[in-house]
């Protein structure tokens, strides 16, 4: 179906073709070691291709397009996909030693990884809201398969929950999409143009306001389920907790962003339509409820991966809140927060993966004194948690500062629940982290399974985490001018 622009110089083509073909290819590579490294190479290629977008930005086709908004999400996705692939190479290496995954599973895993990247990139670059929907649904299916990879009862349970909830959510999202089409069709005429975003945005002010409002309700609930907004978040913690850690990293770091991206696209359509329902209040409401529920859920978590999954819920809540506030400053804050959260949260999941492999447990109570037993890993973990908790000089402090201050400009009362939620979250994270990172170190049985990781594997495992944290730190201290200009233009787009 997808007729790509003819010239092979179009990076967009490569961005999509590489992971797609990679998926097909990896599905037949017999030896998982090569597969792992091929996976890294393909992701690297995708990343480079995405970088090429800066130099050469293709004209928007009627199926695919690149604009200021999605270009940086594409690059971010490709980058995190690449680093995660690196980490996963090291991670899988250790997992196979501990005999948890058979080669067959691993082959499947790598194929699915690329397929997943493909679907996300497709969703990001799709110009047609229908195609975007299909891509998101496909992303769901692939991740479901990866979450159930370990075939433990927990994994299957989690995958099942994920599958059912998200299928229904997807269904509602589709209904919303149809409604949007119906709203657009009288203006845009029949057929594909009425689903092509670039064309719609131009004339969205003429769309049927009632249908648009109705559509947004369905879209917010539908895609909101995938964003993990409370109270639609139920699938998220388990899916994060039971799947392989690299998948948790990309789930939190990328998939949630993609879903939020979809909501934002429709919000932009709403925003230019004066009579339609104002999306802001709804999003603010969902954001606040997510922040609060997640904040208090953190206190009773005993499982390290669920802990950070809930923190993802909280952060998606913050972003939704920020975008709901709207306005250049709040949108800027939201975009910055999106980026920072992707980097830091995936870094934390990398750390968590290494920690669980080292200690052989996911129970927070059994993890102690990491800074003493594994200094480098432990301190990286500490830095990551401090960053996600919003302490300077990491970037998240800046974005949260912006969120709160922009709220103060609009409506100081709204800042109260946000700050309260942030404080509660902070308390929970600090208490848990102090317990895990400090104190008398706990034994590390995990390291005795097989031999200790070779220096190479170790560094490959540590590198992505370090890179992410360094980027977050740099952003917290100094945002380069072009990036800022760019963010600001996007913020203006978001209205």
């Amino acid at each position: 179906m997808v007729q790509l622009p003819p010239d092979l110089l179009n990076p967009l083509m490569w961005i999509l073709a590489l992971p797609l073909s990679g998926a097909a290819f990896l599905a037949v590579v017999p030896r998982w070691r090569q597969a792992a490294w091929l996976n890294v190479l393909i992701s690297l290629g995708t990343f480079l291709a995405s970088l090429a977008l800066f130099s050469h930005r293709p004209e928007p086709g009627n199926l695919l397009f690149i604009d200021d908004f999605n270009i940086y999400l594409v690059v971010l996705t490709a980058f995190v996909g690449f680093t995660t692939a690196m980490f996963s190479a090291a991670y899988i290496n250790r997992e196979s030693k501990s005999k948890r995954l058979s080669p067959k599973h691993l082959r499947f895993y790598h194929a699915m990884y690329q397929a997943f990247l493909f679907t996300m990139l497709l969703a990001l670059t799709a110009n047609n809201i229908g195609v975007m929907w299909v891509a998101v649904e496909a992303a769901t299916l692939t991740t479901v398969l990866m979450v159930s990879l370990y075939r433990t009862r927990e994994a299957i349970e989690a995958a099942w929950k994920y599958f059912i909830l998200c299928s229904v959510g997807i269904g509602l999202a589709l209904f919303g999409t149809i409604l949007v089409y119906l709203a657009a069709q009288p203006v845009m005429g029949d057929g594909a143009p009425a689903m092509a975003w670039t064309l719609m945005i131009k004339r969205a002010s003429l769309f049927q306001p009632e249908l648009m409002s109705l559509a947004f309700a369905f879209l917010l609930v539908g895609y909101g389920t995938k964003v993990g907004l409370a109270p639609l978040h139920a699938w998220l913690p388990d899916a994060h907790a039971e799947g392989p850690t690299p998948i948790s990293a990309v789930l939190s770091g990328l998939l949630l962003n993609v879903a939020l991206y979809a909501i934002l696209r429709f919000k932009m359509l709403m925003a230019v339509n004066p009579q339609a329902l104002q999306p802001g209040p709804l999003m603010i409401g969902m954001g606040c409820s997510s922040i609060f529920i997640a904040a208090f859920m953190l206190y009773r978590r005993g499982d390290i991966k669920r802990l950070f999954a809930y923190s993802s819920v909280e952060h998606m809540g913050i972003m939704t809140f920020a975008f709901g506030m709207g306005g250049p400053l709040a949108n800027f804050a939201g975009l910055l927060h999106m980026t920072m959260h992707s980097l830091v949260k995936s870094a934390i999941f990398f750390a968590v993966g290494l920690i669980t492999q080292a200690t052989g447990t996911k129970r927070i109570a059994d993890i102690r004194g990491l800074t003493a037993s594994q200094p480098l890993l432990g301190w990286c973990f500490v830095v990551g948690v401090l960053a996600i908790a919003g302490l300077p000089p990491m970037g998240i402090f800046m974005s949260e500062f912006l969120v709160v201050s922009s709220t103060f400009e609009r409506n100081p009362l709204l800042a109260v629940p946000v700050m309260l939620g942030l404080l509660v979250t902070f308390g929970a994270l600090i208490l848990r982290m102090t317990g895990m990172a400090f104190g008398e170190p706990s034994p590390l049985p995990g390291l005795d399974i097989g031999k200790r990781p070779s220096a190479f594997t170790y560094s490959v495992g540590m590198l992505p985490m370090g890179a992410h944290l360094l980027l977050a730190l740099a952003a917290g201290i100094y945002l380069p001018e072009p990036l800022v200009v760019w963010f600001q233009s996007v913020a203006k787009m978001l209205g």
């Binding site: 369905f218 609930v221 208090f296 000089p393």
Partner: protein, 668 residues
């Protein structure tokens, strides 16, 4: 700009300390480097304060932080004053650290953070916009938190650290809110714009309240003090000295910067609130201190007291200013700043002394010490001077500042409002009580730790600490004396700092040579120099007379002790027995202090046991309450984790229906 380069070099030091933490000498070198940098900063601050007035206020803008706002730095009189007041003790602590650093449980976790901590504190002082201010503020909390965690194997330290960081972030949020309100809808986060802006009364009140919460929680005002006595003692002593003697001053700086510079229309009512908070902090702080058995805990609680005194003075200043008494307000500010300097000096001195004791004996519990004055003469002497100074005894510096505060307080009734007039005497009582308690508190601490006979073998085996540490303690001790004897030297400088804030010119005669007569020529005056000279004269006469008419023979004999000689060292008065009368009188009601003596049954040879229990009402009511609430909500919400898919679908359905209803509701 010197400050900038100095701070950068601090970062460099931290980095090198991280890299070379295996090398033992690296620690000493790092501390030496910190010492030098701090001295440079002191010099720069002095330079700006004394001669910098001419060439305007240096400012600097760096392309960091918020892209469209950049990072603004500014070094005005107030900043440079605090630069001096903070970096000088910091330099001493670094000097102390050269000898002491290796004795921290894990030096590798302390040395690299030490310069970073200094960096954060100095950053707060020179910040000129809200973002830089908050980042440095938070950075300061962060680094000090890690320093508290440096002996992380100990559960109390971990608990203390967590409480500390959470409280710190709470404070930061309050400050953030205050700044947000001051920035207003324009989102003007530069201090310059904030000065220009004027707020509606409600917002103004909120700003003051939030600032009190934010900076107060860092300074350790009751009831926000709970973290302080946990965290300060938990850190290595030279860091405790920094946190107690220096970091609390940074908090005071924040208070002054916001309430007297950025948002300078604080109603007298808020001034009264500050006075009450200060008074309560002073009394409760020192009373807690009087009950502590741990030397460093005593010092930490006494920090709460001194912060209270400073805040009383600040509250007075605010109230006076609101009533147009610019001159008295300036006087109160002078008193506050003077006490800031003094407390920074003697509190760091005392903490270093405690560190020396800990290094020599490995003990912090008072009841395991004793007789150290004979074994550690220098430490003993310096700590004695420090104790006398913090007990506000002439001719030392502590007395001068408290005298100034009293003088200002006695003018309180000029604020012609009945509430103020009845408040002032009450606060006066509180402050007088605090002063008296402080004296007995430090008689107790010093007498039990340094005098009498050793209560443990470690104390018996104690030896004096290395010279570098002795110097680090001797310098502030000497300064305590100088600042006490020549206050007029300092008050002049402080006046130059205060005048721009209070917008009034202080007549030099009032704070000048030969005596301080701040309020008016006849309203009471104090000339420490004359008093000291007379005292010396009288002392010489006494000695001459006594030795001329009497004999000078002294014979060493066993202690008489009314005939029955007491050989057991533990039969001496212990810390608890010393504080018993005050505990009986005040403690039983407020703190439910409860003494229990278990006598063994007749014929049983086991010893009688004395047990003492006290509770902290503030913690029980406030903090435990919050913890309970959060726990309750968490438990209720936690059920969401254990529902079935169908119920989750139900939640989803409800959300959808709710949305649809909203959409339906807003249709025509």
């Amino acid at each position: 700009m010197i400050v900038g380069s100095a701070l950068v070099s601090l970062l460099a030091l931290a980095l090198s300390a991280i890299l070379f933490q295996k090398v033992r000498i690296a620690h000493a070198l790092t501390y030496a480097g910190c010492c030098v940098v701090c001295l440079v900063l002191v010099g720069d601050g002095l330079n700006h304060m004394l001669w910098g007035a001419g060439d305007g206020v240096p400012t600097l803008v760096l392309p960091f932080g918020l892209p469209w706002m950049k990072a603004h730095f500014r070094l005005d009189a107030l900043s440079s004053f605090f630069l001096v007041a903070i970096n000088f003790p910091a330099a001493l602590c670094s000097l102390f650290g050269i000898g002491y650093g290796d004795h921290a449980p894990e030096p590798g976790r302390v040395t690299p953070l030490f310069p970073l901590f200094l960096f954060g504190m100095n950053g707060v002082l020179i910040a000129d916009d809200a973002f830089v201010f908050l980042v440095s503020w938070e950075f300061m909390s962060l680094t000090s938190w890690l320093l508290v965690l440096s002996n992380h194997k100990n559960a109390e330290a971990r608990h203390a650290a967590s409480v500390y960081l959470i409280m710190a972030v709470f404070g930061t949020f309050c400050l953030l809110a205050a700044f947000g309100l001051m920035a207003g809808s324009a989102g003007a986060y530069g201090f310059a714009q904030m000065r220009a802006a004027s707020l509606p009364p409600l917002a103004g009140g909120l700003v003051v309240a939030l600032t009190l919460l934010g900076a107060g929680s860092k300074a350790g005002l009751v009831p926000l003090h709970a973290w302080l006595p946990l965290a300060h003692p938990a850190a290595p002593s030279h860091v405790s000295a920094l946190m107690s003697g220096v970091m609390t001053k940074v908090a005071i700086y924040g208070l002054i910067r916001i309430l007297f510079d950025l948002h300078d229309d604080v109603g007298w009512g808020w001034g009264a609130v500050m006075m009450v908070m200060g008074g309560i902090s002073a009394v409760m702080g020192v009373f807690y201190a009087l009950m502590q058995r741990d030397l460093k805990a005593v010092l930490a609680y006494s920090t709460v007291e001194n912060v209270g005194i400073i805040v009383i003075a600040l509250g007075l200043a605010a109230a006076f200013r609101d009533y147009g008494e610019a001159y008295l307000s300036a006087l109160a500010l002078v008193a506050a700043l003077y006490h800031v300097v003094n407390h920074a000096l003697f509190k760091s001195l005392l903490f270093m002394g405690a560190g020396a004791v800990q290094m020599a004996t490995g003990e912090r519990r008072l009841d395991r010490l004793g007789g150290l004055l004979n074994r550690m003469p220098v430490t003993g002497l310096t700590v004695l001077i420090g104790s006398a100074a913090i007990s506000a005894l002439p001719p030392l510096n502590g007395f001068v500042s408290e005298w100034l505060v009293f003088q200002a307080l006695f003018k309180g009734p000029t604020v012609e409002h009945w509430a103020m007039r009845f408040l002032v005497p009450v606060v006066g009582v509180l402050m007088a009580l605090a002063a008296a308690f402080a004296a007995s508190c430090f008689v107790r601490a010093y007498g039990i730790a340094f005098l009498g006979r050793p209560r443990s073998d470690q104390a018996r085996a104690a030896v004096e600490v290395p010279p570098s540490m002795q110097v680090a303690m001797a310098v502030p001790a000497f300064l305590c004396l100088c600042l006490g004897v020549f206050p007029v030297m300092v008050t002049g400088f402080i006046a130059t700092v205060v005048e721009p804030l209070a917008k009034v010119k202080l007549p030099a005669a009032m704070l000048g040579w030969p005596w301080l007569s701040p309020v008016s020529a006849t309203a009471g005056s104090y000339s420490a120099t004359l008093v000291l000279l007379t005292g010396v004269a009288l002392m010489i006469t006494t000695i001459l007379v006594v030795h001329h008419f009497g004999t000078r023979k002294v014979r060493r004999v066993p202690a008489w002790d009314c005939g029955h000689r007491e050989v057991i060292a533990n039969a001496q008065y212990s810390a608890d027995s010393f504080s018993q009368p005050l505990r009986r009188v005040f403690g039983s009601s407020i703190f439910q202090a409860h003494e229990k003596v278990e006598m063994p049954p007749p014929g049983d040879t086991s010893p009688a046991r004395f047990s003492l229990s006290m509770v902290d009402p503030v913690w029980d009511i406030l903090y435990a309450g919050v913890i309970r609430t959060v726990g309750y909500i968490a438990d209720r919400l936690n059920r969401l984790q254990f529902l079935t898919v169908r119920q989750y679908l139900l939640m989803m359905f409800m959300t959808l229906v709710l949305m649809l209803l909203i959409v339906a509701a807003r249709q025509p």
